[in-house]
Amino acid sequence: MTSIRSFVAEEKKRLSPIRWKGFVPVLVLFSALFIYFTFFFDIHLKKLLEWAGTQSNGAKVDIVRVKTSFIHTDFRLNGLQVTSHSDPMKNLIEVDNMHFQFSLPQIFKKKLVISDMSITGMQYGTARKTSGYVPKKPSKGPGFLDKVSQAANAGLKSVMDQLPLENLEGLFKGNPLDRVEKLGEDSFSFKKIREVETQVNTSVEDWKKQVVELPNENTLKDYRSRIENAVSQRPNNPDEFVRNIQTVQSIKSDVEAQVGKVEALQKSVTSNVEATVKNVASIDDAMEQDIASIRSKLKIPSLNFKDITPQLLGPKIMHTIEQAAYWAELTRKYMPKRKKGESHTTQEREKGTDVYFGGMNVYPKFLLQHAGIQSNVSTNPNHGNVRGDLTNVTNDPRLLGKPARLDIQADFPTSRIQGAKIEAVVDHTTDRNKELFGISVNSFPVEDWKIAESGPIQIALQKAQGKAGFNIQFGEEEMRATLQATLSNVQYVSGSTTPELAKILERVLKNLKSFGIRGSVEGTLSHLRFNLTSDLGSRIASGIKDEFQERIAALNEQIRKEVMGQILQKKKVLQDRVEAEKKKALEPIERSLKQVREIVGVANSARERIEREKDNFIKSQLNKGTEEIRKNIKLPGKIPGF
């Protein structure tokens, strides 16, 4: 009897390789996917976009609704709010509607290519109901923003260090010199005086010792008498003349040696004297050091500035530069450059390495080809007339070969903002990153704008009409920013912790109904140069100088007198002593030198005289001999010479 089991086994052997029942779970799976994409995908996509936007922006991004359609290959987004990361209760921008048209074939290639995007109902600076603050993640290392921030801070500090307006506060309360202790024994001047005194004592001793080595009167007398002796002799024969000449010559040599010795002594003593005099004069340098030290303790500013605009506007410019650098860093992160000649880009993943295979005329992984921005004036006061284009935003700029570009023109009539233009170009198509951001507004109202809040000067513009332009360019390791602004019909609110500064501000600002601001920041990220000027800053600086220059000059003079009063007397004593000792040392040397030189002269004359006498003697002897010969020999006739 065939068992059921063997029958089933036989049946099983005849079955097809397809398990038709297996299609049921597959159908269930696809149905589940369909249900998910129909009912749940949009919600999850909205959450994903909010999360991704928040991570990129550094502050909350909220979306009201997202609607995708694979059939129409489009995607709609409503109610986008991007929080300003500098003010969490305000939105940087708010967009009513965004519509994206994406390319379905590219989706099947795992690429998101948005061929067209439109933005309508754009507002800026709207208030939020909840805070959009997101705590910052600790960064792995200094990014581009940190480098720019450090360089800008260092550059601004080096300019602001020359404007120590804080020091004017309280400088003239009472007598400033009462706050400074009198010069003590450890001051530069007193230390120098002690040092100079010691040196003068040593020098004087040296001079005295050297003067003792001069040839004394007896020695000189001896030389003279020996010469006179040699001259006064009446030799009988030429040998004695020669001996006398040699004696005089020998004396002359001795005296010339003495001359050399005395000259060397004179040189040595003279240079020592000069050094000592110089040393005494250097007490003045020590006095200057003490004066500078007192000025530094009192924190007296130098007033060598023409403009205090860096102190007024520097922090605000810094903030704007940092904001621009933040966006530049973001573009470098999400639109990275690729190195030249790199055919593959690799990205380390948690598992394995993704290898990129580029090619000609292919799309990158993400591309936004064109987005049109449009918004019209409405009853909502934050709405304005906005027209703009955003093009070529991609994750692989080098593959695309075109820089990303944003151009917006806007007017907000309700807010009285006219002629606003925003331009941004992000060029990562080459080895070197380049970003350019520019914003200009032809006319905008200014209300309650605090120009300077901290420090000794506080200035706010209660009301004004403005026109401004700001342009910043980042390179790989360098940046350049320019700023121009004109403010007119200005009403100010000002104050100062120092009454004098408050008066200056009142006087200057009363007559300054409009002013311009010009500035530039440029250089490498290791050395940025700040240059900020404005009529406001230069007028206030001029006012400060007028008010304080005389007082500071008088204070400087007072300090100088105070120091000199304590030191000059001691210096004069030293100087007088040096003069006296100098005379005591140099006069005998000069005298001795004169004497030995005289003796040399005498020796020369003596020698000449003896030479002459010798010659005369020889002549006379010759004549005598000739006479005798003539007398003794009778020659016939005359013989020449006889």
């Binding site: 799976l29 290639k109 598992k351 390495t353 990129y356 292919v362």
Partner: protein, 173 residues
């Protein structure tokens, strides 16, 4: 769970399930185990497992075992995959074309571990099918028949309990 799968597999070895079905299950299980999840071809393997008459029990056991082995072999897959993707000049145009072909990028073939595991699968598929078939046949011939010859099994088969158990298995299907 692994033990549970193992005992189920033993039961299959003692059953009349076709050797080819068991081997196909093994191979598909191996594919599912070594392929990183969330890739297109992983889903395809899963659907094939449901739709083809490959033994799901064997596939589950193989999936679990090769899944554990894959963790150890990942560095090897990475090196092999990276070599194939970047160093073999002859296939670069193929990869470039595939990268731009619809749906293929969803396989993530451009990832070094995916490529390495794919190469491993292709190399091991046929040998594993053949070896597993041979081993199953040998087991059935040697072990199962010997077991069926023991006095314990004959006693069990002769008992009423065995009949009741057989009827219960038939009822379950």
């Amino acid at each position: 769970m692994l033990l549970h799968q193992f005992f189920k597999f033993l039961k299959l070895l003692h059953s009349d399930t076709s050797t080819h079905q068991l081997s196909a299950g093994f191979v598909l299980g191996m594919f599912l185990g070594v392929t990183p999840a969330l890739t297109l071809h992983w889903f395809c393997y899963f659907i094939l497992l449901l739709v083809l008459r490959a033994n799901i029990g064997a596939a589950m056991l193989s999936w679990a075992g090769f899944g554990i082995l894959a963790f150890l072999l990942d560095p090897v897959f990475h090196k092999v995959g990276l070599y194939l993707l970047t160093q073999v000049a002859a296939v670069q145009p193929l990869w470039t074309t595939l990268y731009q072909t619809p749906l293929v990028p969803f396989t993530r073939f451009y990832n070094s571990i995916v490529m390495g595991s794919l190469a491993g699968q292709l190399l091991l598929a046929v040998p594993l099918f053949w070896i597993s078939g041979v081993l199953i046949k040998k087991y059935r011939l040697v072990v199962v028949s010997r077991f069926k010859g023991t006095w314990m099994f004959r006693a069990w088969k002769a008992s009423k309990l065995s009949d009741l158990y057989d009827k219960y298995q038939e009822f379950r299907g």
